[in-house]
Assembly symmetry: D3
Homo-oligomer: 208 residues x 6
């Protein structure tokens, strides 16, 4: 009987020694990043808490956008490293919006939870826009410029799913107006008036 | 002025003629599937409704599992074709559960919305289990056997995000007990008793 | 001797029957597209001309942008289907520019051929800009908003390489000002003034 | 003449300096793993022995399963790192089996070498099972639950090819019965009787 | 009871309707190929025989190479479509060889079954060669030029696993000497003598 | 006013903290390589010069091939790390050529800039060859053996784009004749005469 147990353990080892290596790769956020994600924590130091994110709650919307994004991306949630998916929570106060932005190379799915959001994305030849209520989902294909506006009478909440563990969020205003790109160059490459460029730059911290 | 307009249109055509081809590929569900997904609908027939899914509401939980899965996978929601992400809604009545299952090659992220769920996944050498409440997220890495049990006092709701446009859902009971695999073969390859196999087969429609 | 020849042909068939299937997949542009690209033309109808693109010459720059993009993307050049790379030629007259744009999910490499171009891309926290001359190359990572301005005294030419057979080109002005998205919604989601939005819309054909 | 030789060496360097970097990436198993595999050993320390695995012989089948799996996965065979393929040898004594298991995200191809194996995999709606003899191959698509039983009169041997350098092997019995998941929770999520769960747990080392 | 059964069936449908779509994609070889593989046969027409290949036996080695390759690639074995793995059997008579060849973009793993094979691959800066016997495995990384020679006293057999469902096999002699590329052009681009080129062309059917 | 600014900065942080991580990954060439590329430099040490390569000029063609390849691959140009694209410049003096070679797993696009090049690639069953002039582009699909010969009356220049950040370049002569593979083994696996093998080996530094 004991012999069988020992042999069984032997079999167990031969079957399982590699099983934990590739099935997941919890990020070691202290180590370097790579094109495929962060290095893996040693499997024996991984606990269930690496696979659980807490604090997926409403962010503070008292800001310029009257909106908040609470992200569970790989840098917040190391368990999603290398797995090609992450989520975020979007809260928009009445009158607020998530202005035009892109997620380079990540698709976004928006699940309406509360309130009403008018959202859309544009291609050079088409506009896809819709007013969404709880029970609705909208997909914004990878890399498309899109926006979300609270078009209801109260606050709005949505959950977002991304096809990347680290989708980022590139707000157009920060790209155009939040740095030192000279105002006349911004104007030339956007067809906006220089005065307009300077005005919005003042709001988003840009100079030049 | 008109000349400029014509020239502008010329520029517009030269810049945009290909833009709508690869940025998205809405599934033509009447056509054949391929390893990378369904064929694309002609871009000029695509409307915003291809990118919006309605009916992401609680399913009927009056069934064997006291649970319901409402999916927005590519076959329900052609706009996610080829984009590597999809979502589903999980409703579990008090006492119910989503029994042991896998999504072959898709990672699942569970966002708690209401109630309390005890969930977990297992590797050959470790068990990762947690009781989750609203504000919690748990990730089940690709291909791992996992379960979700309503461990609270009322109904529970969660939203699921998957790293695939078509993650499927392979319920272990259906795989083992829902077909004509002979009971003694099931017993031999699971170490269950034949009597137990036959008993559960009766529940899940299996024969043999 | 003849016997050996026959046997040799037999061997040749057994070794080569599948070789032409996966090594390339020339697009059948009359068939449907899919997430991985177009269907393949039957290998026996493929000729060298499927792998050669002619007409990679200067485009007409007499237009709104004083610039022209001549593309050899999959819809122009079926031989690159499924191969993850394509090229384009950029000609910018004196004073012209390629305004702000993105290629969703494709990286761009710019090789300077003639003249001088000032180019750059922006992230939310950084600006990367450089004045380029022949002998210089600049890379614009996937999905980043970028621009190219002729900053020299004559015309400028560059060759572009993309990490996609179909990178598209999303000009920001067309996205924001070339469709029916209401001007107040554009203003709200860009922090531009409504009057400015309407002014640029007039130039790019937008209404509303 | 000597001049030409020197110039030739110059050419050789300019052509080959990068050639050894990406063509292969032998695993440095002492370094960390990443989502794409292990770090590469420095190319100048790589020898032919990194690309050769010896000891692909019958394992000891005197164990609970009367079976042995001899693996040449990346952790055994660093030369396959990052190459998306690996192999294993399966030996099953008379009466033995490889019980129900999955390889998360890896497809398995089984080549019969000796004896007779009855194998199969199940989806929620179908059973695919076959008795295999030398000359037969069977494919088990990625992530599918499958089994192999020696259904012949002597020992059976098969070679397995996987679409991953590190496919793992998740034996269902270890997942369900080899850990501390409470027996009533196992019962609830499998529809097995608690007594049955406890009985098999005793065999596979589970508690609770 | 019947009600429960009906509800159970409802649950079964809601859980399984998409499960068979993405888990596998058996090739419809009568349809077109695409960059990701062939279109899928309708799931309801798939049988276990799509996942089983028979005839993985020794090929006829009475030919120019004294060798035979028996392939189970996607065009022979539609069940591997889209799964990124396939296998072949190699038989080499005494004195025979598989001459220099590549598999574009597919890695090859060779498992020795019988006899002795001397195999190797070359990079611009290194040679990796080994004499292999049963129990040995050798990996030839993707796209590398490699060869296998029967260096033993009898016939030799090996099984090959590839990291592609359709790896092809590009025999160098056929590429250089089996077509109408002019002999002087072959000579110029190989540094071989024209007379040698013409001599080998006569053997491999080339002209010009 | 100041309050708004502070809140705005808060929003800026919450939106941008992850944005710079995955959008690019400039290679830290002092660190180890991995199957997906080099580790990333810390984002705060990245400057525009990481994204610019200078020195894309004609190489010295006074060598055995009368040709030069100037590469901007990841080891030359760390900004392309993980982005799946790179470029090179090809200069061929009158009478020179780039002899037969492959890029394992990378497709090559050749853009003619000056002069005339006759180029081609071969499969086991077909030859694709063309004489190219400025304005022409030719694609050589991944892993195919190909060549480029200056067939004009002066020097020729082309720019090359690759579907890999590190395509390498495997010159056939170096593989066959530049190492210690015994001449009789080369002869056996190429069907060349031993005397021819030894003659070319003397040119390319091979022994044995």
């Amino acid at each position: 009987m004991k012999m069988i147990h020992v042999l069984f353990l032997f079999a167990l080892v031969s079957f399982t020694s590699h099983a934990s290596v590739n099935d997941f790769c919890v990020a070691d956020l202290k180590g370097p990043d790579s094109p495929s994600g962060y290095q893996c924590k040693p499997p024996n130091t991984v606990t269930v808490d690496d696979f659980v994110f807490s604090g997926f709650v409403a962010g503070n919307t008292t800001n310029t956008f009257n909106a908040a994004l609470t992200s569970a991306f790989v840098t917040d949630f190391p368990g999603v490293n290398g797995l090609g998916v992450s989520v975020a929570r979007l809260d928009i106060a009445k009158g607020g919006s998530i202005p035009m932005h892109t997620h380079p190379a990540a698709t976004e799915l928006l699940i309406m939870v509360e309130g009403q959001i008018t959202a859309g994305f544009m291609t050079p030849t088409a506009l896809y826009t819709k007013t969404l209520k709880p029970g609705d989902i909208m997909v914004f294909p990878q890399g498309q410029l899109h926006f979300q506006v609270n078009s209801g009478n109260g606050k709005a909440t949505a959950f977002l799913a991304f096809s990347s563990a680290n989708p980022g969020a590139q707000l157009l205003d920060l790209l155009l107006f939040g740095n030192t790109l000279p105002s006349d160059l911004v104007a030339q490459t956007t067809f906006l008036d220089v005065a307009q460029v300077k005005k919005v730059k003042a709001r988003f911290g840009g100079r030049g």
